[in-house]
Symmetry: C2
Amino acid sequence: MNRSSNEKKVSDVVLPRILHYLRVIQQLARSNMTTISSEELSKIANISAFQIRKDLANFGKFGQPGTGYDVSNLKRYLLDVIGTKEMCNIGLVGVGNLGSALLNYKGFDEEGLQFVAAFDKEESKIGKLCGNVIVEHINNLKESVQKNNVHIGIIAVSANNAQMVADKLIEAGIFSILNFAPTIVSTPKEITVRDVDLSNELKALRYFTAVNK
Amino acid sequence: MNRSSNEKKVSDVVLPRILHYLRVIQQLARSNMTTISSEELSKIANISAFQIRKDLANFGKFGQPGTGYDVSNLKRYLLDVIGTKEMCNIGLVGVGNLGSALLNYKGFDEEGLQFVAAFDKEESKIGKLCGNVIVEHINNLKESVQKNNVHIGIIAVSANNAQMVADKLIEAGIFSILNFAPTIVSTPKEITVRDVDLSNELKALRYFTAVNK
């Protein structure tokens, strides 16, 4: 998980846009487009051309006046910036509907992300194959996380159990947590937690819908 | 979906923080806390106290020097800002693992969000109850969206089918789309699309993990 090729730190604010550009550029590359102007990119990505030029200018000179960005160069560079060369091992806790959906999601592998372990407390789920992993009892978490060299822990349990799971992940040596439980987990400073709050996404959408009407 | 009580527009940048504060404040209210300082709020929310004071100052005076924010007042005000008084009707397309997980998610109702329709193209799924709705054939989408007064459409199909589904939702009169497919959908300007890209969340987490190590 070391970053050797590019140590320049992208801020928390810019990174989501970089990932969004990468998504667009990967799609363009699949459609065999070779160049794209910042204006065209702006339309597809729904981000202003000014913002795009500013964000990409931080990483050196890509755009050619008059011809635009070279799609394959830009793709290679963005992939390098966010460092997807090494596989990242993921462990998931909570094999309910959402957990199963994540374990079965097809798009992670090609992005250098792989599930290597999954945990639940319900006996009926233990030993079952879900996606590419066999569900283990949560009591095995520490041992399994260390054995499988898990880098990122995903919390997909209910709000009530999220803090307990976060504590177990941290105790097992995990520094990075993606939390899907609709609650805030308390963690020491050195732990990075990202919350994916699905109802907040809907609320944000509703807010903008209501405002725009 | 009209906003009468508070027409002040929260920006796209600030809104996720407002929703995050609301999540924290709701949690504090459930724990029967009555007041909280911006410093304590900062620790729990993992956002600087300066940023919190700045964000909340936009909405009038809440904090009392020395005593902090009144939890129940702040909760009521934040709920008012994001306008959760009216129920928002949601229609979902794609009843796979992720779609089922969303339909069965317990937390939406109390947030004023409710699923009123779900669609799939697979005959085996049509007519089955999932969460609180009966899955309909995607060919019924337009009729059902209008009959059920759907405000927000969720795309939970594969990347290949996402554009087709977006087109159908828009044709049915939907202006707000939450897209879980790992692809960019093209829509007219008046349509609001929010992308939830789960692999981007993991990539962001990996990026920060790698940088911090």
